[in-house]
Symmetry: C2
Subunit: 587 residues, 2 copies
Amino acid sequence: EAMATSEPRATEEEQDPNAANLRPQSGTYEYAWMHGCTRKLGMKICGFLQKNNSLEERGRLAGQKNLLSCDNSDRDSRYRRTETDFSNLFARDLLPAKNGEEPTIQFLLEVVEILTNYIKKTFDRSTKVLDFHHPHQLLEGMEGFNLELSDQPESLEQILVDCRDTLKYGIRTGHPRFFNQLSSGLDIIGLAGEWLTSTANTNMFTYEIAPVFVLMEQLTLKKMREMIGWPGGEGDGLFSPVTGGAISNMYSVMIARYKYFPEVKTKGMSAAPRLVLFTSEHSHYSIKKAGAALGFGTDNVILLSTDERGRVIPADLEAKIIDAKQKGYVPLFVNATAGSTVYGAFDPINEIADICEKYNLWLHVDGAWGGGLLMSRKHRHKLNGVERANSVTWNPHKMMGVPLQCSAILVREKGILAGCNSMCAGYLFQPDKQYDVTYDTGDKAIQCGRHVDIFKFWLMWKAKGTIGFEQHIDKCLDLSQYLYNKIKNREGFQMVFDGVPQHTNVCFWYIPPSLRGMPDSDERREKLHRVAPKIKAMMMESGTTMVGYQPQGNKVNFFRMVVSNPAATQSDIDFLIDEIERMGQDL
Amino acid sequence: EAMATSEPRATEEEQDPNAANLRPQSGTYEYAWMHGCTRKLGMKICGFLQKNNSLEERGRLAGQKNLLSCDNSDRDSRYRRTETDFSNLFARDLLPAKNGEEPTIQFLLEVVEILTNYIKKTFDRSTKVLDFHHPHQLLEGMEGFNLELSDQPESLEQILVDCRDTLKYGIRTGHPRFFNQLSSGLDIIGLAGEWLTSTANTNMFTYEIAPVFVLMEQLTLKKMREMIGWPGGEGDGLFSPVTGGAISNMYSVMIARYKYFPEVKTKGMSAAPRLVLFTSEHSHYSIKKAGAALGFGTDNVILLSTDERGRVIPADLEAKIIDAKQKGYVPLFVNATAGSTVYGAFDPINEIADICEKYNLWLHVDGAWGGGLLMSRKHRHKLNGVERANSVTWNPHKMMGVPLQCSAILVREKGILAGCNSMCAGYLFQPDKQYDVTYDTGDKAIQCGRHVDIFKFWLMWKAKGTIGFEQHIDKCLDLSQYLYNKIKNREGFQMVFDGVPQHTNVCFWYIPPSLRGMPDSDERREKLHRVAPKIKAMMMESGTTMVGYQPQGNKVNFFRMVVSNPAATQSDIDFLIDEIERMGQDL
């Protein structure tokens, strides 16, 4: 039984005699809260009013102009929010304005009504994943929705319309059929955590202004280090404000450089020999970006060959280390990927760690996508050897369903993060405080302050327990295996690589009937390359589902399915397959 | 008339016969919404029920076990949320669980009730700014509040308690008497924007998954570039996920390097000569951090001397450029600060720009703190010359009251940001999409995805208009001048520098009576150095107000007052002065 929508219906309103000007009396404060209630509650109240037949009560309840109106049909009677309430209110009327409490609460509850309606629809398979519009369409302005900013304020009524429209023209990343990104789903506890975090509106840089959050971060990082397997959970780390793990990976390179060549901090890269970094050809491009940013140069980020499943070949790493040394370069850093972006591949960490030990290199494990599997007793073996890493990136906002952004860099050696980044700015970190200033962690970060990314994650951990995360991860991996089993021998589908997926990534081509008989040739490859983009475009136009595609190496465009949304079920997987077949059959 | 608190009162509940087991019937969905209403609304409903004297209705209204209960005293009768509703509910019962809609909405409305209560109290001067506890106290666990994470889930009841406690032991950064940070205040529109942003839970890296937000960012950045004065608002930029402007400043250094030495991107710093950067000794330490991170080395970040007001002396810049060149270094980049962290100083941009043009250097303006003054016709002259900058950092989350985080890097030359950072990862940015892919901006950033920081700012701009920001800024600067006028000749106060503050920063010592007669000496300086920390500690213990202090150069600890909170009034300034005098009189 879906809730009736709460959009005002102007015509009804005009016809409704109860919608007339019932001006607010004094003492109407309490009714402001009713904005948070549905029209069904309104109905109930209307019901009482009708029973009581007390106009006085009715007038008092209506309180605000047009706040409530009833009609005689029980089925149609409803609590109606009247937009006119906000048409003469502006931001300046909200707190801290005098008498701003009432409009503030009204406005926020109205926003919450918009948000809760959005949340309910997000989980409803009868709604679309998106309502696609081209950039020029949105820029030209949809009806009532204008992106332009102006000198003069707009009414709160318009602001509420803007909020609705922003959601309307956006993407429902929590929809059970949204499979487009590594981050998907809409965790209710995490969402509550985000609402609280933004209400607290503080920043992580000192204990003084974020006492609870600083301690939560400390305890949570320790717990994560325990799961990695570092003795006693000792070590260091922080949550870095970024959605892709890229800054966390950049930290790892900076720390490695500081460990081996601390003088670079003060003297620059000219104080170091020509350093090289190693990472998989399948790894996330953030290692290359870090190489460019930090002054190594992308040419000095050496890409490692992989097997057919996208896993680094350890012998190739050793050969390239030896080669680099022979050419006069100094190998510094190896990135092992735990869960690659496209294939979901796990590099063999133990074998890579052996080589790093042999050549005295820093070992970083990029578990941005795959780190979550450490929570699963069934799947954590895929990260065997992670305890030998010097640093680990792990993004709970990916596989663990934490709202964006939540990315951790974890470091085995204590103190090196601060050593690498601290500038000891006296105006920020005063040693003469009344509390233990070792909790002022701001100087460890490359940035000054940091957004509070810990609370939602901490709250989710409390609410789910470790076993809750484990169940979520196991379920997503089961679903991927379901998809794999379903399409591996299905006509019209071809796997990009064989074997049960290591992570939730399932990579496949859809071969339209017109290409099925055709022998491999440049022409077929070119045609196949265009299939996934065409199907994706149709999906977005129809708004029924979303899944990503990309080429990789010499492989033409293929679909990459990923599952991280706890709302997804086997029926959604079935739906996706059906949609691809339906849209692709005539290509 | 403050709202009554909504804490359940166990004793009352036990005595209340209405609190007995009224088990939920089917069709009780609508009552879930009542959790969002105050007990006063509940009172009203109880009133009706009593009038109707209809037990059946009453039972139906109660719906959930203990959801509502009434008593006979009109004054004490109230809508009572009963915590037991949530004691048998867990995260797994929320959406996407079957029948999860009702508990989801209940839970979120309960959270919103906690948050709206917090918001109301934040603006209430009779509440404390903070309730201070030492780290060990919070770690040992306060009553009912335990930070530790466990394997098993906790009930939603406990989660709600955790939410309340997290706010209870935190800091009210929106309180009218919180003056501790450059970012303060709690903007209701911005807050609504954050709630919506976290509900949308997407990320900025492609138009595909953030169509509306990508366009909002584009339009807002253009508007900001217009205010800077770049012709037609042309140029480039992005909002970088950071709370201190440090990453934005780091971008500026990277872009400058790419402009003059593009080969560094691929070959590393060894492809460039020995580059030096210039910034004020009063500037934010992020320039030094960027120097360390990007491979320049902090020794190659040359600090510029300032006048007594903390403004860079242009002649000193030119002398140091000449000196560096003579020593064989290559000057690359000059940072001019618009609003320094401690003094609020504005470097003379036009004179610095002349020198940069003469020596062909990149000019960056760090307007993280002072950029907001561009919104004020009265104060924007302090940034005269900013239109000559190659890049500008501007943090709307500071002077403009936007919730954390919201920091922009703006670049005059179009395309250079992408040139500097793009890696063209095929798996992220597909050229064969059905829409105009120039809107896929992810590759411009050093990180992969980016948190959506634009919406709250865009929404605030809509709701306030440019004139709303102008009024906010003018008011804060007026308040600072009020403080300055009040203390400049007041006994026991001594200004750190003379003259009306350029920004809202007012820097001063409080001299306790015991030190007033004492001639300047090391002993007096040491004693004075301890005064501000002692007063600050007392403030935090009593929780009445918060203001920052720090030493600067050879100046011992002094208070730095800043005003960015629109809730602050002259009475709050008066209160601060009184508190300092009261706490400091016996030191």
